[in-house]
Subunit: 319 residues, 2 copies
């Protein structure tokens, strides 16, 4: 059905070896021959059979991607960035789901290996460790791990959020995360408190404790920094029901720059990641690992402020 290498060879009365060499530009083939071969390949619409090639070379040009629970709303953009970066390097991306279960995470990786991946990119589920694998692995956002290749600067992002709020004059700030069990969230909160000005009061709150945010705002807190836009949205609607409005009654900053952040009104100020850069570095690291086996050093990519409408500049009281 589909044309093979040998079809080109037969049509041109040359050997398959010559065709292969000509198309890959590796051996010594006359310019004229190369031209004729390429022309014929084109005419037939030839593209090499990936299995034949993979079997011979030991490389499938496919990498696996393991994503954490779908609950993570960063999923789509991260996946997309990984796919695009992989494409740049001529790799396809096999995707696997860790099914919200740490155990399944390893199963997923095994499946990817068994399907023939050349390497794996994993964004681990919170609280899991990625075991040693028979093929190269690049881990994203595994803040502690040795296999980590690149992470977002979550602490730095937290610092940016608080810095922005403090510049706008806020001093009593609520830092709210969802659950302590997420290292990423803890790190973000850590960055926040680390950036506190000497005269500022930051209060750490976890949604799992069902804190009384409305009461705290009424008691004089003027701003909220969250570890996720999702939390910000939840808070925003709850405070709204209580009659507290944005940005006049309090200021709010989210995290992750999710899709809806720019759509709601007022638009949510938040902290964004360069998924593209993270993906690019992860893929770069992984391809190096695949090609040379040399370990790559872990990198941190900065986050940035997405300035929108939910942070209000406070009037200076004294100067």
């Amino acid at each position: 059905m589909k044309p093979r290498l040998s079809d080109i060879a037969r049509n041109l009365s040359v050997s398959a070896a010559t065709v292969s060499l000509a198309l890959s530009g590796k051996g010594r083939v006359s310019n004229e021959m190369v031209a004729r071969i390429k022309a014929e390949a084109n005419r037939l619409g030839y593209s090499p059979n990936p299995m034949g090639k993979a079997l011979r070379t030991g490389r499938s040009q496919v990498i696996g991607l393991v994503l954490p629970d779908v609950a993570n709303p960063l999923f789509p953009r991260m996946a997309r960035s990984i796919v695009m970066a992989a494409e740049e390097h001529d790799f396809g991306v096999l995707i696997a789901d860790s099914h919200d279960s740490p155990a399944k995470q390893n199963e997923a990786m095994k499946r990817l290996v068994d399907l023939g991946s050349d390497g794996i990119v994993v964004i681990p589920r919170k609280g899991t460790e990625v075991g040693p694998q028979p093929i190269p692995v690049a881990v994203i956002d595994a803040l502690g791990s040795a296999q980590n290749v690149v992470s977002a600067d979550h602490a730095g992002g937290g610092a940016i959020a608080i810095g922005h709020l403090q510049e706008a004059g806020h001093r009593r700030i609520l830092c709210v995360g969802e659950t302590r069990s997420s290292l990423v969230q803890r790190t973000r909160i850590g960055g926040m408190v680390g950036a506190a000005a000497p005269d500022a009061q930051l209060l750490q709150l976890w949604l799992e404790d069902a804190p009384d945010v409305v009461g705290l705002i009424r008691d004089g807190a003027t701003a909220i920094a969250t570890t996720s836009d999702m939390i910000a949205l939840q808070l925003l609607t709850e405070l709204g029901k209580a009659g507290l409005n944005l940005p006049e009654d309090y200021s709010l900053v989210g995290f992750d720059n999710l899709d809806f952040a720019g759509i709601i009104s007022p638009a949510l100020t938040t902290i964004g990641t360069s998924e593209a850069e993270i993906a690019e570095r992860a893929i770069l690291g992984l391809t190096r690992l695949i090609n040379s086996g040399a370990p790559v050093e872990s990198q941190v990519v900065p986050m940035h402020l997405v300035r929108r409408e939910t942070v209000k500049q406070l009037a200076r009281r004294k100067n």
Copy 2:
């Protein structure tokens, strides 16, 4: 490095053929031999080299998945469902991005083919047609197309939304979509107006026309049905700024049951899809296509109401 079929054969002093036959349970191999071979395979941690197998059988056990612009917020759950369904049928999923461009959609498909997929599932970008491909294709949600294998019942979903609103006593309802260029959105709206009660007034609105929703609600419309939770969220925050609150001042129903729908307060009533069922049917259709080549008939899967807090029962005026 990794054990091959022949390693097992050598260790047990049998031929490779016997090992293959034993492991696949196909040929005539004595029970005792099968047991010994399986034991040895286990001991070595053998798993077959996918390229060798694929080259011989002509099947890679991998299907491709082409997703539309990332703007579609259904993306993550749909992808996940497809991956899970594929897994059930022992297929891996190669993912490709259509880069928000209709032209790239075909490029993406070509890449998947060149990478060795056995078939392709595509959720086409709005307004694009999927050309003929060298391998089987199952199209999801291509309302018109012949290649369509399964779609959600968007019109039915619209009808459910309006039905629910009408049951709660609403008669003046705003139906708001984002853009007329989306066939899915037009179909949803179509379903809505088709379900209108004789005494009801439904008004079609498109965000691209920047309609004055606040004014219309003040003028007496009591409910809004949208074609997407995203639109619902946008409206909800805008109306909130204008002092119109949910559910006392108006009722609202979204579409798609996005992540945030259950988190905001009050929680958003919306129309949900069974992504799992759609995915299951798509994969089933595709595997049939791959194995037998027999065309499968297109199916429609129903949507359902997710009843939450944004629809208010209106007091009966007359009885």
